[in-house]
Subunit: 467 residues, 2 copies
Amino acid sequence: MSLQLFEKQVYAGRRDVLKQNFGHDGLIVLLGNEESSMSYKDNHYPFRQDSSFLYYFGLDVAGIAAVIDTDTGGEVIFGNELSMDDIVWTGILPTVSEMAALVGVTQTRPYNDITHYIHKAITAGRTVHVLPPYRPENKIKLAAWLNVSLQDVADHVSIKLIKAVIAQRVIKTPLEVAELEKAVSTSVDMQLAVIKNTRPGVKGYELVAKAHEVAMAADSRLGYPAIITPHGQTLHTHDYSHTLQNGQMLLCDIGAENAMHYGGDLTRTAPVGKTFTTKQAELYQVVLDSMDHAISMLKPGVRYKDIHLAACQKLVEGLSQAGMMKGDPAEAVAAGAHTMFFQCGLGHMLGMDTHDMEDLGEPYVGYTDTLKKETNIFGLKSLRLGRELEAGYVLTIEPGIYIIPELIDRWQAENKYADFINYSVLNTYRDFGGIRIEDNFLITDTGSHLLGKYLPKSLKEIEELKG
Amino acid sequence: MSLQLFEKQVYAGRRDVLKQNFGHDGLIVLLGNEESSMSYKDNHYPFRQDSSFLYYFGLDVAGIAAVIDTDTGGEVIFGNELSMDDIVWTGILPTVSEMAALVGVTQTRPYNDITHYIHKAITAGRTVHVLPPYRPENKIKLAAWLNVSLQDVADHVSIKLIKAVIAQRVIKTPLEVAELEKAVSTSVDMQLAVIKNTRPGVKGYELVAKAHEVAMAADSRLGYPAIITPHGQTLHTHDYSHTLQNGQMLLCDIGAENAMHYGGDLTRTAPVGKTFTTKQAELYQVVLDSMDHAISMLKPGVRYKDIHLAACQKLVEGLSQAGMMKGDPAEAVAAGAHTMFFQCGLGHMLGMDTHDMEDLGEPYVGYTDTLKKETNIFGLKSLRLGRELEAGYVLTIEPGIYIIPELIDRWQAENKYADFINYSVLNTYRDFGGIRIEDNFLITDTGSHLLGKYLPKSLKEIEELKG
């Protein structure tokens, strides 16, 4: 087993910043993940460590946890040593104290000691800060450690810790940006493999196989389940059973997660045959214009929500040209009429998690105390990022047009947005499918920087790839 | 979303058999699986349905459960209909009642109704039979449904239901055998891709990529994490970071799980270069002789434990020829001295799960009320299958020789098995690594049948593949 890590100073430095920002306020508990069982206990999914644990403690092994004592500055890693049976089955690993030393931690204890350690702190009246669990086994552990019911765990997570972790992780350091550049470049190679192998008669799963092969051959994995479909209007479909046909478009949304667990998140939409149809090319250009407009707005101080709304307006302008929308584009967006075509948000934070830090809560990652998420408005409720941009943010830009027959039928029956939507024309596009184009950006002091190698995106470039 | 299913009569027939075997005895609850979160709630591992649920109810979708009322014969599927938001994100699925009809069930209810449904049965004094949960979220559900604490769920699983399900699933029907043949043949193709691409300078993960590509291109996935390593002595290593070197052997243990979730489980050990060294060839032949002897014993009425012990004796005979063991082979095996080289069992049941039905408990799957597992004897405690064979069983045969330096050092220091182990010779093999050869068999009325296409296994055949 070879552990892939940054220098130990990186982790110690991150913890020092956290402690400094936190002040003297009890214990911070960071829970590593366990193995996840597929079809029986010992048959595991590929292990994925918790991202915040990786950020502060780096160790990519199952079954460990860590405590930071913000009053004393002490740090303890809790984990169990291997038995001879473990060695026979899984091989030699460093001891827990050897692993701890690799990330600058000197104190270690057996895993089960953590229950008593935390109970003692609670009894002494100290505050124990934990992050919200997204895996059920960690929820069970936290209930036991905090001595509360499963139902009450959610009320015992620390908003202060959530905010402190986000404040730190949201600004990517040069070391992290270098990892993100690598992960996005691998994602570009995956996209190229898929696009070049897309042709009539190919099955979706054969293209997924190509993406996997490129990722794995770069010591990476897929950071999220691939979306590879001729039915791009379904935002998160993972059905790969379709046989591709001439005249269709293939929407491919894939990203590599590299060995250090930083990820890319790219989408391209390409014709199954050699060229786009006239209708496809027209709407592709609408999406691309919206994307380019959004990219041109990226810089510190601009609210991402405003970029989203500007991108939506560009979509409406293009859809009006195509005859599917009408009326004033700004009014259409204000009314929400564009959500017939673009039901989701323009993008999200990106980092170790594809939706970076989503486990800590979108209201904290993508929004602020003064800019709250609109949770009741169709479209905006799916905008994961709204806040003002800062240098060091890494995010996606991913506009799209999605023609969903079920939505047309429902809204047309309600005569919804009839002032802005030209249903008679729209109905001629019922089987159009969906188009999304997505790239990844670092916010710089003056604007933005495209992460990774350039992946062709113009109509001409995409068709040339198919040549 | 396209659901892959057998004819609905298949599932109805299986449930009828279960009801008949069970008699009038309250409710049987079968829990489907949920999505499993990777790094945040909505980022999922590939969905894997519970195998017993698939066996009786077939539906490969997350978030459903089923109840069989053994007193009335009634069957209910509990699940929630899609909202418009679901349709936007994940596309159209059949309704719950449409899905239920596909597997011959007419009654459906919203998912959350199941809690009240079960509580009502318990209040009425009826018995509620559940299988042991291997996923924490299912444990949490069962605790709520059965109205017991998390700790007490284990005491409330139904041994009667476990035994009834195993009795049925352990005998593979022709329909299942056909799926297993396909899955093993895909596994053969994966093995061939790995062996042919094994050469000095290749990274382990590049070979894993090849295996994945072949699996996915056959609409399959890996049924368990690949073992692809030059350090074959570590039984379950998933470290793929090694650069392969001339003179090493690569141990590759991989299997496809097909779209119907039946799996193969094959192992080959091949030279990284073109040929085995003399030492490698000698021990490879020892393992192969042991394997062929075990295969020759496969037939109904023979205890698998006896086949295991006979295979161990063959290994000892070969290891004695090589100078690493001494004394009477039968006595050596009786004493357990062979476990220096072969620490695990000869094989296990195979089906929808790689270790078929392991979630239901090895004591019930691999053993009987009269033949109990030896849980305190090194070696035998890892023998997953011991019971007398019956026609219709599907299982693996996988002997091996694993040279584990840490085990040599520990046992030599204790002078353990000094009458049988020639430590001075063994120490010259310290860095030898490991060899395993594994194929999959159906027990027939008169003997056994090799599942899937033939995968070369003799020294000559393996070297020819490298040509």
